[in-house]
């Protein structure tokens, strides 16, 4: 039985071209890019080339990009780093979307310690809260659990109008939805390598020229003093190569969406044929969502039992964010959207990627129907 991987939102496989690009830097070109000799300068050039490449797809200046160890670190640095740099600001309100990733949402305590006032807002209505008292707002481009897309242009314009810094976590959308930073009113943008076919252990933070930021990690002064620590050369190179090869695949988003749509059609149809309750999409009609996300509630079926069954049927899927898969708490995203705790624990996430085979949706839907049936009617 061939396994079907439908957990692309948790992590993506590393692009073969990225591994190829990384290997020389794990074999012969292992030098510290801060040294002065030729081998080290080669490593430095490779880091710069990756930076240029990423700047190219975002339409920003390479010097506006900082490499970090993860999306989590980038988001921490964006929010906390800009608050530390502005401790004397008269503006104290920090607006956080209620469905932000924990890398943002769990910062409330730290934000308070710095003398600011964190406020959790409905991301769909956050523009109503943006005013002259706010210093920073953080609303993600697209949610990692449900795939819901938020309108960064509208949020960002409102922020700009009121002189508020805008941080956008684009970890989940990057590589699928385009962002053009020449027009997008975004001041700080967070990206993660392993969500866009690059390696784990590398993230990116875009800091618009002129935005003040204090480092969280100090030391050797790498990354223009904003992020110390020897550069993870191989991973940075891998990320650059992954992005280049992903962007060359122009039909990826439409292919992914076709696979997801086919899966949903088969899943809903299959449940009907088996006499099972119809799975309910967590996002209502008309809500913009990522082409790779299918997030549904299986009435009466506990997500953990579903995942165990799916695993034995050869489907890798997720419930909520991968980081908290083992958690007993219901998803904060779903509770913020008004789901009860028990409803939230019946939700599963199937996420598709550019390597999903054309046959996978049909076969995966069959297996999910079987798992649902096994969970609801164990003796059948």
């Amino acid at each position: 039985m061939e396994r079907i991987y439908l957990d692309y939102a948790a992590t993506t496989p590393l692009e073969p071209a990225a591994i190829e690009a990384m290997l020389p830097f794990l074999r012969t070109s292992f030098h510290n890019p801060s040294s002065l000799y030729e081998g080290a300068r080669e490593a430095r050039r490779a880091v710069d080339a990756a930076r240029d490449r990423i700047a190219g797809v975002l339409s920003c200046h390479p010097a506006e990009l900082i490499f970090t160890s993860s999306g989590t670190e980038s988001a921490n640095l964006a929010v906390i780093g800009s608050l530390i740099a502005a401790r004397d600001s008269g503006r104290k309100k920090v607006l956080l979307g209620a469905t932000e990733h924990h890398a943002v949402l769990n910062l409330t305590e730290w934000i308070s310690r710095l003398g600011f006032e964190p406020r959790i807002c409905d991301p769909r209505r956050i523009v109503e809260e943006i005013d002259e008292q706010a210093f920073l707002a953080s609303v993600m481009h697209a949610n990692n659990e449900t795939g819901e897309i938020y309108d960064f242009a509208r949020i960002g314009s409102m922020c700009r109008h009121h002189g508020v810094l805008y941080h956008c976590d684009a970890v989940q959308s990057f590589g699928i939805l385009p962002i053009d930073l020449t027009t997008a009113p975004i001041d700080l943008l967070t990206l993660s390598g392993h969500k866009c076919y690059g390696p784990k252990g590398v993230g990116v933070l875009y800091v618009r020229a002129g935005v003040r930021l204090a480092p969280l990690i100090t030391g050797g002064g790498q990354e223009r003093e904003l992020r110390s620590g020897t550069e993870n050369v191989a991973a940075i190179v891998g990320l650059g190569a992954a992005i280049e090869s992903t962007y060359r695949d122009a039909s990826r988003a439409s292919r992914i969406q076709a696979a997801r749509d086919e899966f949903e059609k088969r899943l809903f149809g299959g449940c009907g044929e088996e006499g099972l309750p119809r799975p309910i999409p967590t996002l209502g009609e008309g809500v913009a969502r990522l082409p790779q996300h299918c997030h549904v509630r299986f009435p009466g079926a506990d997500a953990q039992s579903m995942l165990i069954n799916l695993d034995s049927f050869g489907v890798d899927a997720g419930s909520g964010a991968a980081c908290s898969s083992g958690s007993v708490e219901p998803s904060h995203v779903l509770t913020a959207m008004g789901f009860s705790a028990s409803e939230a624990k019946e939700c599963l996430r199937f996420t598709f990627g550019k390597d999903t085979s054309p046959e996978a949706p049909v076969e995966a839907a069959k297996r999910v129907v079987r798992a649902y049936s096994a969970v609801l009617c164990p003796r059948k």
């Binding site: 012969t28 080290a40 999306g71 898969s325």
Partner: protein, 375 residues
């Protein structure tokens, strides 16, 4: 052209065995280890195995005391940021300890003597004021000075302070042991002992405080968030295994090569001094060339395929004099002529021969161009 790599204190070659161990996690086993499916469980199992190996490497009983980080810099910052009170750090600490300490405004520097050994009298006096944390590295990255961290830790404990040691440069260079020693925090970085860049470790003794630094998905028991760098962690574990296997023979080999280089350079190059302790770490040599531009020597050596560095790599090209060489009181006319030659267990005798042959030539060429006149 022959090549010789003598910048192992800046970064080491990834051991091919380490890369082999990593490859499955860069290819077919790519799952997020926090997910709930078979591939994720395999990744998670590999991480826990690496954690046990790391615990064994540093001589800790409980693998749960180990937290994986993106490197020693992050790990050091995490320890330093945990403390809200007064700290003491040695004057020759790596910038990832020294800078956060100084920026906190609550730290005092412990001086060292002319060889880089901690000044215990000064340390004793500094401990008279209430102190929360003492941080002293086991082996200095620029001059290879080795510290008596057991004694330093004991004194810290007697004064009611906790003790952190950055052991980055000590891995694979001497036997490590934290469990029954007066150390409370230990930090290290993978790429200094043949693991890849981008991975490090923080060991924190059970019961000692640790402020959450990276905040998010609550990985690493809530102590360090961010998707785990599976391949990097597996690589770190593989490198730890090799470091334990190598033992005394390879350490002696490095020490012997080090002595050969020092003896040859002192015999062939006029107006040179060796900084640090005569019996310092087996892999670091720090030389000063009187009234000679160290960087020019390095560039000359580079054009002949030899890699080494002036001071620490991170500060290369910064134009600031080394804080370590200032701390040991190196006179001004020796300061700019600093060259660091650092070895690893992969350094060959052929590389050593080549360095010994080329170094005097490079120095005399640089001095010739500058119209050098000895004092």
């Amino acid at each position: 052209m022959q090549v010789a790599y003598f910048d192992n204190a800046a970064s080491t070659k990834v051991d091919p065995e380490v890369l082999d161990a990593m490859m499955p996690f860069l290819t077919e086993c790519y799952a997020n280890p926090s997910a709930l499916h078979s591939m994720a469980f395999r990744a998670k199992a590999a991480i826990e195995e690496a954690r046990r190996t790391l615990a064994e490497l540093i001589g800790a009983d409980d693998p749960a005391e180990i937290i994986f980080t993106s490197g020693a810099t992050e790990a050091n910052d995490t320890v330093l940021n945990t403390f809200g009170g007064r700290m003491l750090v040695s004057d020759i600490e790596h910038p990832s300890v020294r800078n956060p300490a100084l920026e906190s405004g609550r730290a005092d520097l412990i001086p060292v003597d002319q060889q880089g050994t901690l000044d215990f009298e000064a340390y004793e006096r500094l401990l008279e004021s209430p102190t929360e944390l003492v941080s002293v590295m086991s082996v200095n990255n620029e001059i290879g000075a080795v510290q008596d961290i057991d004694k330093i830790g004991e004194m810290a404990h007697r004064a009611g302070a906790l003790f952190h040691s950055d052991i980055t440069q000590g891995v694979g260079k001497h036997k490590l042991e934290v469990q029954n020693r007066p150390t409370d925090y230990a930090t290290l970085s993978g790429h200094k002992f043949h693991a890849p860049k981008g991975i490090g470790m923080l060991w924190v003794r059970n019961g000692c405080p640790l402020k959450r630094f990276m905040v998010g998905g609550l990985q690493e028991g809530g102590r360090r968030s961010g998707t785990l760098n599976v391949a990097g962690i597996v690589g770190l574990g593989a490198a730890a295994k090799i470091a334990m296997r190598q033992g005394a023979v390879e350490i002696e080999k490095m020490a012997r090569q080090r002595q050969r280089i020092i003896d040859a350079i002192v015999a062939t190059v006029p107006d040179v001094r060796v900084n640090g302790q005569p019996d310092g770490a087996p892999h670091i040599i720090n030389l000063s060339l009187y009234r000679t531009e160290g960087e020019a020597v390095i560039i000359n050596l580079d054009s002949h395929g030899i890699c080494c560095t002036a001071g620490a790599a991170c500060a290369s090209g910064s134009g600031l004099g080394s804080h370590v060489l200032n701390a040991i009181g190196l006179p001004q006319e020796w300061l700019k002529g600093s060259v660091r030659i650092s070895l690893s267990r992969l350094t060959t005798d052929a590389e050593v021969d080549y360095l010994i042959q080329e170094f005097p030539r490079a120095v005399s060429e640089v001095r010739g161009l500058a119209g050098y006149a000895a004092g």
